[in-house]
Symmetry: C2
Amino acid sequence: MSLSASFQPLYKQVYDLLTGRLVEGHWKPSESIPSEMALAEELGVSQGTVRKALNQMVAENLLERQQGKGTYVAEHTQESSLFRFFRLREPHGESLIPETQVLSSSRRAATQKERDQLGLTAKVQVVELLRLRFLKGEPAIFEKVIQPLSVFPNIDKEQVLPNSLYTLYQEKYGISIVSVRDELRATELPKAYAKHLGLPAGSPVLKVERASIHIDGRVVELSHAYCSTKHFVYSVQHK
Amino acid sequence: MSLSASFQPLYKQVYDLLTGRLVEGHWKPSESIPSEMALAEELGVSQGTVRKALNQMVAENLLERQQGKGTYVAEHTQESSLFRFFRLREPHGESLIPETQVLSSSRRAATQKERDQLGLTAKVQVVELLRLRFLKGEPAIFEKVIQPLSVFPNIDKEQVLPNSLYTLYQEKYGISIVSVRDELRATELPKAYAKHLGLPAGSPVLKVERASIHIDGRVVELSHAYCSTKHFVYSVQHK
DNA sequence: CAGTGGTCTAGACCACCTT
DNA sequence: AGGTGGTCTAGACCACTGC
């Protein structure tokens, strides 16, 4: 196979090709992919070039490598997924695992704003999922999740939803969330959500609007979360 | 024989050594460091090993490399520094550059909590700097900055403070902020700060508590910021 | 033009895992 | 023992910079 007739460095072409295979579901999560030597031979490049592409994909959480074993497609286990994207902690504390209670789930047409954010032009149906999440037994987050049915067919027919939706997305719908974009505001707790969080209406709460991004770059899920920061904080480290 | 727990790959040893030189100020910001070949010869390792160490340092924003020119110590210009750590934007918008007005500056003893966060045991003096920051002409952030005088001697005697303090830290005090840890809460705007932000006391505001971390890993500065999220949002992308 | 970093290759040896 | 990824080396060629 010849890769040499282009502007991009070889390792980048290899990266694109392998990432493309991931996007197409050529390899499934937790499966091992071919060894460096095998890929190098197939693509007609050196082992070092394949390695550079693979290591970049590891850095982007697309792959995991284990010495002596092989290279695996990164899997969203409940723990890894929650640990990676769930930012609410105790002040100066370790990561917390939330418990989740589903409040309701319904279909409706996407709003114009949602269609814009999801990059959808057609009039499309979405599922609106309401959940309440608990930290250390206390209700801490009231969450509205928007899932386009074009991406997640019949997701509202799921019998049980896992604590981490991303696990479900990956296992049942072939959607791997590789990054999320959060926008945070302080706002007054809407009256309708007050009793769920056990706070007075109008209390200051942290509103987190999230866009979740699939490996192919599409925004495939939106969520709006109202977080009580009475006992917990949204924690980030910028490097 | 089994390798001891202290075994480190060569490139990691090179990384540690070069990072140590940066910490000690052996090379100053914006200066070029020796070429790959020169370092390889000096340290008795191959060029590839030096390159791996250098590239890791580039990934951590410690160095910048330019083909054909050389490798330079990363510099906190006002633009790069603000762009990197300043998170308030317009919704779905690009990065904004804040303007800054100093309100007051005073010395006092550090509180117990501040000593804990700064990793200082002795009774130490700090400067408490109050600033008001504007976005697009509107007051948006009321900020309290805590600077230990042991790290920044006589910083309260500075005639003018730049828009980005990190530039000053690096140029005058040899302190390079490589990462920051933020904890975010929603809270009611304290009465004392209300008039500065032009909002009613008790309005929900985003409180950002930040610890700024020097290249050697020490927390060298604290700040507490009250942000109006009426027109702006705190924006993060997690990968 | 010489010097720099960027890419690519080929091969060696090591550490780890499975069989 | 054989295969995997991890480290390290040496050398080639390319692209860019500055003189």
